[in-house]
Symmetry: C2
Subunit: 250 residues, 2 copies
């Protein structure tokens, strides 16, 4: 007895197809301009069929976001198990975030859409729960790095607890990526490499928190090089493949 019948497999495949088409159209035109009729046409199914899979446009969006966050969680887990100091793990986590977004920068828009205009109030309860769960997992993954560093004494316990530190780092990463996605001319301002800027600033913050050992620019450069060209390459390749294979082409 197969785990899924032929019919069920077909339905699941269609679901993936719709998501993939939706993702592409969303990237091209934005959420507001995304039309369900267009998705139907492009996927070569009727609108009624689409609405059997997603009871509203917002539901489609949140499912795309969940996919998106699964990718982030995947590479975040890789970062959290980096074989090095706790400090290196935290930097790896930030870099993971950077690299993940670099795979498909337009995904960032999805995460913005989903948080405005009452989108979350329209989606299915189960989808919202899954979304929140993904969020919580990523947060706790990051928090565990801080907590471990405190437990082993690398990071002295100060004013802020692990959750607060996560909030701060997350703010900086997320805000930094949003600002880059906006059309504000950062380069003209004098910010030539925003990702590297955030890493340096994060290192400064960790120094300020008295996280030992302190950082040097040379060490940071070496770590970044290693992470970007070696440690994460396989995970990134999987991520890229995962992105496209949701269509289950071929």
């Amino acid at each position: 007895m197969p785990a899924q019948s032929r019919k069920q497999r077909e339905i699941a495949q269609r679901h993936s197809l719709f998501l993939e088409v939706g993702r592409e159209l969303l990237h091209e035109n934005g959420f507001h301009q995304l039309s369900m009729d267009q998705v139907a046409e492009q996927a070569e199914y009727s609108k009624g069929t689409i609405y059997q899979h997603f009871h509203c446009k917002e539901e489609m969006l949140i499912q795309l976001c969940i996919q998106c966050m699964q990718g982030l969680l995947f590479i975040g887990e890789k970062a959290a198990t980096y074989p090095g100091s706790h400090r290196e793990r935290l930097i790896a986590f930030q870099i993971a975030h950077e690299l993940w977004l670099a795979v498909e920068p337009r995904d960032l828009y999805m995460l913005q859409y989903v948080n405005v205009d009452g989108v979350l109030s329209k989606v299915a309860e189960s989808s919202l729960a899954e979304f929140r769960q993904m969020e919580a997992k990523i947060i706790s993954l990051c928090a565990s790095i801080f907590q471990d560093a405190m437990d082993c004494g690398d990071l002295p316990v100060g004013e802020l607890n692990a959750a607060e530190l996560v909030y701060g780092v997350w703010s900086m990463c997320y805000g930094g990526q949003l600002l880059r996605s906006y059309e504000t001319p950062l380069a003209e301002m004098g910010v030539s490499n925003p990702g590297r800027t955030l890493t340096s600033l994060l290192q400064a913050t960790l120094d300020g928190l008295r996280w030992t050992p302190a950082s040097t620019p040379e060490q940071t450069d070496a770590l970044l090089l290693h992470l970007e060209t070696e440690y994460f390459t396989e995970a990134l390749a999987q991520l890229r493949e995962g992105c496209c294979s949701t269509l289950s082409r071929g």
Copy 2:
């Protein structure tokens, strides 16, 4: 000869009325749900008249954003002239940002809407120019604090230039406020006072950058108290008034 004729004054007043009505409806329902028919009805004018003032919905949004940023610039200038150390000025700048948003938290949504869905590509060129100019002014205001601190030796010149430091701080403030505006349960996570968390983290970052004198939690508390209950009170009152007086009631 009056600077403006009666007619011109009437038109300007109507313009303000439309913006005010638009702002309220935007706050209530979000940008996508904001209907120009509704604005027309609420303002007791016809839609055609509205469209004489704003050639599209997006144009209305960006004008609201410009108003919004004028408020931020106003209180930011107050922060940048805080009579204290450069370091205190920078903290004042962050607090100004916090207090400004506290006056009308829903304004943050506007600043998000305007940066997605190709809104900026639909607005009048002059509006976009004004928007960018406001942005640039706020950025350079913040950059000047960093630059002054470097010039006088309080902040050693390191890896990052003033613009890059602004980018980092701005990322943290903006990202932090967005995360708060989302419905993610920060309090449950363990972040009881996000604003204070960011200030502490900013202080840690400045410590890490070797900005002298170093901070202590007690000094920070005292500074915050002074800023929130004394230094900014008048500016905030003006901001609140400005918010409502755009309608030019009475």
